[in-house]
Subunit: 362 residues, 2 copies
């Protein structure tokens, strides 16, 4: 079952838990803010629901609490960060702050970060730049999940692209896996015991797997050597644009693992403590091209024109960021949704760390 909880209280609880792991107050605050941002914007799959996974990795040493991200190569407009297997969210915030600083000083900042960890949603980091009045981009690679066009097995990660640009009344925020759907979407449908509504999963590169009861095949999605994989955006046929999602996945790999000389998708594994995903962070100041206010006004009007197009009956035209803004208003008013299983996991973690939950979970 899913219930609603006060987001400020949950944020305080996450803060306390991360403090108890040994993170500094400042870092614990950042982690809590990042996870709650995600829940408040309706992307529950990547918010506090992930606490259990991070807890597992903190315990087995895949996430190293004492690590600090370090710039190992730098120019006015770029940096390579070695994250030394610290917590993904902290590496992400640090790296995007470096990109933002460079963009403010020199117009552009491009940062590529290796030996990182699972960092949540790409759009969060892109939006950090938008909040600072800049264009932001962020991507991460991940272990093999997507099948290249005409191949039989996974090779490329779900390699999402996050992109944000200031706009009124709220920023444009694009956040999309380069596979048709991310892994988490499959898990959600399986939990709900719903069949997959489209060609999201391919067996042997061409056969759709759509039944949620197809446990054997869907379990294989987590096995990089198996013949079951997520389809690229555009499906598995060139006619529907399969090579486009496939190619965008490669482009993400370039900006993450190739330029940082970090681990490429096939090297990433949850079991191996000595490897980690790579991420990229880009900030660009629109002011290097023209009057920033004029650019943002024009962009906002452009998006508004899209919203006002004649819509398919019964449908609403949403521009990227609109749904998240609506979810935010709702969650601020009524609380964030947490399912019982996630709540149990959080309670168990808190108990082990001697963090009292009573004042946060009522």
């Amino acid at each position: 079952m899913v219930k609603r909880y006060n987001s400020e209280k949950i944020k305080q609880l996450v803060f306390k838990i991360y403090q108890a792991y040994g993170f500094s107050n400042e870092d614990s605050e950042k982690v809590a803010a990042t996870l709650l941002y995600t829940d408040l914007h309706g992307i529950e799959s990547h918010g506090v629901q992930r606490l259990a996974m991070y807890d597992h990795f903190i315990q087995n040493g895949k996430i190293r609490v004492q690590s600090k991200p370090e710039i190992i190569k730098e120019t006015d407009v770029s940096a390579v960060v070695d994250a030394h297997f610290g917590l993904g969210q902290l590496n992400g915030i640090y790296s995007m702050e470096v990109a933002i600083q460079k963009a403010k000083e020199h117009g552009v900042g491009i940062v590529t970060t290796k030996n990182s960890g699972h960092y949540g949603i790409a759009g969060f980091y892109a939006n950090l730049a938008a909040t600072a009045g800049l264009i932001g981009m962020s991507s991460t690679n991940s272990r093999p999940a997507m099948v290249p066009t005409h191949a039989m097995k996974a090779f490329i990660g779900t390699n999402p692209i996050g992109f944000a640009m200031p706009a009124k009344p709220h920023p444009f925020i694009f956040d999309a896996a380069t596979s048709t759907v991310p892994q988490g979407k499959i898990e959600v449908y399986r939990k709900l015991e719903k069949d997959l509504p489209a060609f999201w999963v391919a067996k042997n590169g061409t056969e759709p797997v759509t039944s949620h009861t197809d446990k054997k095949d869907l379990d294989l999605l987590r096995d990089p050597d198996a013949n079951v994989a997520l389809t690229p955006l555009g499906g598995v046929a060139e006619e529907t644009g399969s090579h486009k999602g496939f190619g965008l996945g490669i482009i993400v790999e370039i900006f993450t693992s190739i330029l940082s000389l970090g681990n490429i998708s096939t090297e990433i594994s949850p079991e191996n403590l000595e490897v980690g995903p790579c991420q990229s962070f880009v900030a660009i100041d629109p002011a290097i091209f023209g009057d920033k206010e004029q650019i943002i006004e024009r962009f906002s009007a452009y998006l508004q024109d899209i919203r006002h197009l004649p819509a398919v009956p019964g449908k609403t035209i949403y521009v990227h960021g609109d749904k998240e803004a609506l979810a935010y208003e709702n969650a601020k008013k009524y609380g964030i949704e947490i399912d019982d299983r996630t709540l149990e996991e959080i309670t168990a973690i808190a108990k082990r760390l001697h963090v009292s939950t009573s004042e946060y979970l009522n």
Copy 2:
């Protein structure tokens, strides 16, 4: 009918034609090289087949022979170019050369160009950077062709993304409309009297138009006010990722018309001589991140691993740029393919301009 012609001779003929229009020798050489690059790489829809369209625009003044692109705003890492309605290919080469120069000096160059013209294929400009040892990107906006998710009519252009990165044995070159297919693909199927094999065209935002005999609907594709449009990459449903192609189209619009404060898609029209598309050009030096040779070696090995994955029976796994490299070898050996109608058009243009064709077309 389609016949093969010697590419060097056709290039000479294009050079002569552009010289006759009044372009300088240097510019005529660039136009000829760009169009022939396209034909030699198997993208016939955007090569010499376009001479007739450019001829029409040169005659009616939409393309201004005497115009020179001009930098109107500049920083170390960026420029805004006003192309003053010169020929798209010349604006494109100029703008990418500015981006390349900035990337060589400062690591990154981002150029946005307004009041331009139809510039051919985005991948050509991206590849100019790759040939210079850099990462290259280019995009263009265009008149409304793609329907936003849940809208009933076109609003966004086919807004392609060109991306290139040096690799061995040849560069990685990605070039893709953010719609499922570009407009030209529909024209090719209609010419061949073949039905459209997938959901490329939508009527009222949701109904597939697939019969090539559906002349009325397909003709409406060229009418921005009609209820027939190309689908975004990912189709028209969120389940298949429609919002992703739609969002990528918006991102292209940002880097082209929004940042340059040029004409957005809905303002572009072939009839209006005072408007033109906008383009973007990005060059990034991989050396700002690490040893360039090492990065390229690693990337080449990564691509090679993809090519060697187990393939779907009867299929070959192509990495982006492979098909073009094969087409190039073939065209260099056997000549480029030109259909009779295009040949007639070129002959008529040459005759009007008093350019002899006899030595080039045998």
